[in-house]
């Protein structure tokens, strides 16, 4: 349901401003939503640098946006309660030129609007648009769209919906706020002619015979086998044995041959844009506990050959035979391959091997906390509302111990039934003595992972909040709950540590939703948890350089918006550290690379192309270097190819030609004047 008018489409990257009236958490969520666009589309954003058209994110009342590029500085409000990934994505899709799904001209073929149930005076919110104004981009009606109204929109009776699907199975899907649907992305990518995404480098499910261009090592002892999962215990991870004639994985049999025999599987050559990548894969080791799976990287040796080997991480076998998720952080800046080496540890005592499936390589940070909740269906059956399960303790890049509490049937006190609850808490840890307390301005991101093998189709449920000095509890005498867990927490036997008070959501995702996608695979629920400092987003203002045209025109019927800060002549830059930034103490001096809020230098310096006059930009160790265009007669020079110069030989010929013509003219004129005289 996108605008037809091509002048409303943005040029990428879209300049943005994070106004300082936004809460710290909202800023972090907006940057997180940007990353989703970069992972799944060619839409990109850049901090405002004086452009005429840009989006300024502000905290007014409510969540709202204009539709399409207004060719001025346009507001997008992320008000109180709007700081969720899916809400920011929804508003950004408006800004990119999309209306709501149910206002398509053909929507009455797919949904019923119960006009009698709409609040009187609010019927105009259910209009449809003519297809001369909007286009469906040749995509079918999408019940799963992030842009669809929820069933109870503008309803006058709390329990009676205003929108229902003509196919009842979609009644609990319309209005989903997990993430972009597959068709949302198809439309976005069609509207903006996207052919690739910014941060998805490679992925492979091994379903095709070409194994995604991977190659077998030539100097090893054995080969990985492209196998199909037949029978119990040999299911792949992509389809978990659900489909006939499908469900392939790579397998290295470790039950015969000699100890230390190895097989190598090499990816195709990959060209990174950022400086950090995350390799995620699923593996299973059913042979000897001495078997090893080693991840290597072969990188450009600076002569153009991808041959410089670096060992990255080793995964050891154990006696647990289920599929496990593996994450490996790579820091590649030049072209490279990643390699999986399987090694036989003890063939005489092995009855299996190493399985490998569902590889995803993204240019994003790996999650710090990964919790696989096994036998999830059993857990659901054996627990009741209020029961809770604690995750293991994870450590943030700074050294804070943290974890999550899972409520399989939600927390007590919530009116909702059939929902999973999730909350975050601090754990005491080995670094507590040197860390700063209470720990404020750290953003916790909890994600219930949709394990779709295609990263673009994942619709994970992410909840984000930021620790604050305002988070206090009467249970600890109104102290801050983010103080040291050994002071404000309770002893927890399972970790032999102290657990702080948790903060989270009583009902994060419904059991029905959990069953619909790939949230539960191999009867395992996967949860990612991160905890990172975002203090640097506190104060990041820069002035707006040109006079802003007002993006006013609010059509309000009951109450004016608070626009006192709309004329703020300040703008916000992502990742620009403030002088007032708090000095934090950290166990690992990992620096900004560990941040979720990708700093400016993570972006491709060649986007947008800084080179003028059709110069080609080359990324040389993170710096833009221009290769200037050259013609037969002239060429361009300068750092940005801004200066034109004429070739020496052409210049010589031109000067010679002009001089010759002048001399010849003088001779002719003098001869003619002599004849006359």
């Amino acid at each position: 349901n996108g605008l037809r008018d091509p002048t409303t489409r943005w040029k990428f990257p879209i300049p943005y401003i994070l106004a300082d009236n936004l809460g710290l958490n909202a800023k972090g969520v907006i940057l997180y939503a940007f990353e989703m666009f970069r992972l799944k589309s060619c839409v990109d954003f850049k901090p405002y640098e004086g452009e005429d058209t840009y989006i300024i994110f502000q905290e007014f009342d409510g969540c709202w946006s204009m539709v399409g590029d207004q060719h001025t500085g346009q507001n997008l409000s992320i008000g109180s309660g709007c700081d969720y990934k899916a809400i920011v994505e929804h508003e950004l899709l408006h800004a990119l030129g999309f209306y709501h799904e149910q206002s398509r001209s053909d929507r009455d073929d797919y949904v019923n609007i119960w006009w009698d149930e709409v609040i009187p005076g609010y019927e105009h919110n259910f209009v449809t648009y003519n297809d001369s104004y909007i286009t469906d981009l040749n995509t079918p009606y999408d019940y799963e769209s992030l842009m669809h109204y929820a069933p109870f929109s503008f309803n006058k009776n709390e329990s009676v919906p205003t929108v229902t699907a003509k196919i009842p199975a979609f009644d609990d899907i319309i209005g989903q706020r997990l993430d972009f649907s597959t068709i949302d992305l198809e439309r976005l990518n069609r509207m903006y002619n996207c052919t690739a995404t910014h941060t998805l480098l490679d992925q492979c499910t091994f379903e095709k015979q070409n194994i995604c261009g991977m190659i077998q090592g030539t100097r090893d002892d054995a080969d990985w086998i492209h196998e199909r999962g037949d029978g119990p215990g040999k299911e792949d991870h992509t389809l978990v044995g659900r489909c006939k004639e499908a469900g392939y994985f790579m397998y290295f049999n470790t039950s015969y041959g000699q100890t230390e025999e190895a097989a190598l599987l090499e990816s195709r050559i990959l060209y990174p844009k950022r400086k950090q990548q995350c390799l995620q894969f699923y593996y299973k080791m059913t042979g000897s506990p001495l078997d090893r799976l080693v991840v290597w990287v072969k990188r450009d040796d600076s002569t153009g050959n991808v041959r410089k080997l670096v060992k990255i991480q080793t995964f050891q076998g154990d006696n647990e035979y289920g599929w496990k998720i593996g994450h490996v952080t790579l820091r590649e800046e030049v072209k490279f391959r990643y390699l999986f080496q399987g090694t036989k540890g003890d063939p005489q005592n092995s009855a299996g091997g190493i399985f490998l499936d569902d590889i995803t390589l993204t240019e994003t940070p790996c999650p710090r906390g990964v919790w696989m909740v096994r036998n999830f269906s059993h857990l659901l059956q054996t627990t009741v509302k209020g029961d809770m399960v604690f995750s293991p303790r994870f450590y943030s890049s700074e050294g804070y111990g943290y974890g999550v509490t899972l409520y399989p049937h939600g927390r007590n006190g919530t009116s909702r039934s059939g929902y999973v609850g999730l909350a975050f808490q601090l754990y005491s840890g080995e670094n507590d003595a040197i860390l700063e307390w209470p720990v404020e301005n750290r953003q916790a991101i909890m994600t219930i992972v949709d394990n779709d093998p295609d990263a673009k189709k994942r619709m994970s449920s992410s909840m984000v909040f930021t620790t604050s000095k305002d988070h206090i509890s009467p249970d600890i005498n109104y102290s801050n709950i983010w103080d040291r867990p050994s002071i404000v927490g309770k002893y927890e036997q399972s970790c032999n540590c102290f657990r702080g008070i948790s903060w989270g959501w009583s009902a994060i995702i419904s059991h029905v939703q959990l069953q619909k996608r790939n949230f539960i695979k191999d009867d395992t629920l996967v949860i990612f948890v991160d905890f990172e400092d975002i203090t640097h987003l506190n104060q990041t203002e820069v002035p707006v350089t040109s006079t802003r045209k007002s993006s006013s025109g609010l059509i309000l019927q009951s109450q004016g918006l608070q626009t006192s800060q709309e004329d703020s002549h300040t703008a916000t830059l992502e990742g620009q550290p403030s002088n007032l930034q708090r000095q934090t103490r950290s166990v690992e001096n990992t620096g900004p690379l560990e941040d979720h809020n990708w700093p400016q230098y993570f972006r491709d310096p060649c986007e947008p192309n800084p080179c003028q006059n059709e110069g080609i930009c080359v990324n040389v160790k993170g710096m833009a270097s221009c290769r200037c265009a050259s013609g037969h007669a002239f060429f361009y020079t300068g750092e940005r190819c801004q200066a034109m110069q004429v070739h020496g030989s052409i210049l010589g010929m031109m000067i010679g030609g002009v001089a010759g013509t002048i001399v010849l003219s003088i001779v002719i004129i003098s001869m003619m004047s002599q004849r006359r005289s």
């Binding site: 009342d61 409510g62 709202w64 008000g79 109204y149 503008f154 857990l379 959501w505 059509i555």
Partner: protein, 43 residues
């Protein structure tokens, strides 16, 4: 995994548990076009 039974709910809930965009905007007293769209004056 060890399951802990509910004892005393001392843990805190984040605000806006599952509220959707239109709920937030209506609660804020906004009446925007289609609930969350700001129209330019000429529309």
């Amino acid at each position: 995994i060890s399951i802990k039974p509910f004892s005393k709910e001392s843990d805190l809930d984040a605000s806006n548990q599952g509220k959707d965009i239109l709920e937030i905007n209506l609660a804020a007293g906004l009446d925007l076009f289609e609930g969350d769209i700001l129209l330019p004056e000429n529309r």
